[in-house]
Symmetry: C2
Subunit: 155 residues, 2 copies
């Protein structure tokens, strides 16, 4: 079983969470899973462009719809980059995660955010608000992109 086949299998299974199975949804989900392993977060626009250049012409509308549905179903994390553009990342598990993202290269590091979850839960309990949700994102410059790593890291 090739890596490509394994991806397709995963995608085929999970697409049903969004309703009817369609080739387009499978393609988008596959691409999102691939992107997670390679680049971390991806935008709808860049994912669409990637599909076009891979001769998998899925409509931009469908890419947006599928990614939004995945996020809605809790199968993708969503963050906003410095320009307000929405970035998506496939999430295998069921709990949401928080990330430290390099503003230079986009590499993302999943964080242990137990402390934040507890803090947010406490706020939700004591504030009087209901349906409390939270957005927690860390950004910075990763070691590879940092000052002491300019141009050629180890040569």
């Amino acid at each position: 079983m090739t890596a490509s086949t394994r991806l397709q299998t995963t995608a085929t299974q999970e697409v049903h969470l969004l309703g009817r199975f369609t080739p387009q949804r499978a393609i988008v989900l596959e691409a999102l899973i691939e992107a997670e392993e390679e680049d971390g977060f991806v935008s709808a626009q860049s994912l669409h462009a990637r599909l076009l250049s891979a001769d998998l012409p899925v409509g931009l509308s469908t890419v947006y719809r599928t990614l939004s549905a995945l996020a809605e179903a809790g199968r993708a994390d969503v963050v906003r980059d410095m320009h307000g553009e929405r970035l998506f990342r496939y999430r295998p598990g069921s709990d949401h995660r928080h990330y430290l993202i390099c503003t230079e290269c986009g590499v993302s590091l999943p964080l242990d955010a137990v402390a934040v979850e507890k803090w947010a839960a406490g706020i939700a309990r004591t504030s009087g608000f209901t349906a409390v949700r939270h957005t927690v994102e860390l950004t910075g410059i990763c070691p590879d992109c940092g000052p002491s790593a300019g141009g050629s890291p180890q040569g």
Copy 2:
């Protein structure tokens, strides 16, 4: 000394942090301070509209420039609403703050986020990343907008 005069005094002093003093910058800063006391966060668009209807026709470009400069100078907090629009809030102090914002009416509640600050500082220290910054926003439905306070609670 009227409340209006007090606002103008504050604005006049702080405008200098942005460079040259101009009437437009003072107007925008005043409006931002007023908005903080009334509505909490405001968008550049709504602030601009408010100025127009108050016969203080400051250009939209200038509103954007001034609010961005204030945020850059650390005199305003910035969050993104559900649609990605940027919302600004004047910040008297020098430390940034985090808020719990009602998605229905927009009322905002400043939070004690010491736990989050420590957590974020720990990540910054142990991750290898530099220039680490964080975004932490809580959203929910405030007591006034909640289920037991809706249009006709008991009916």
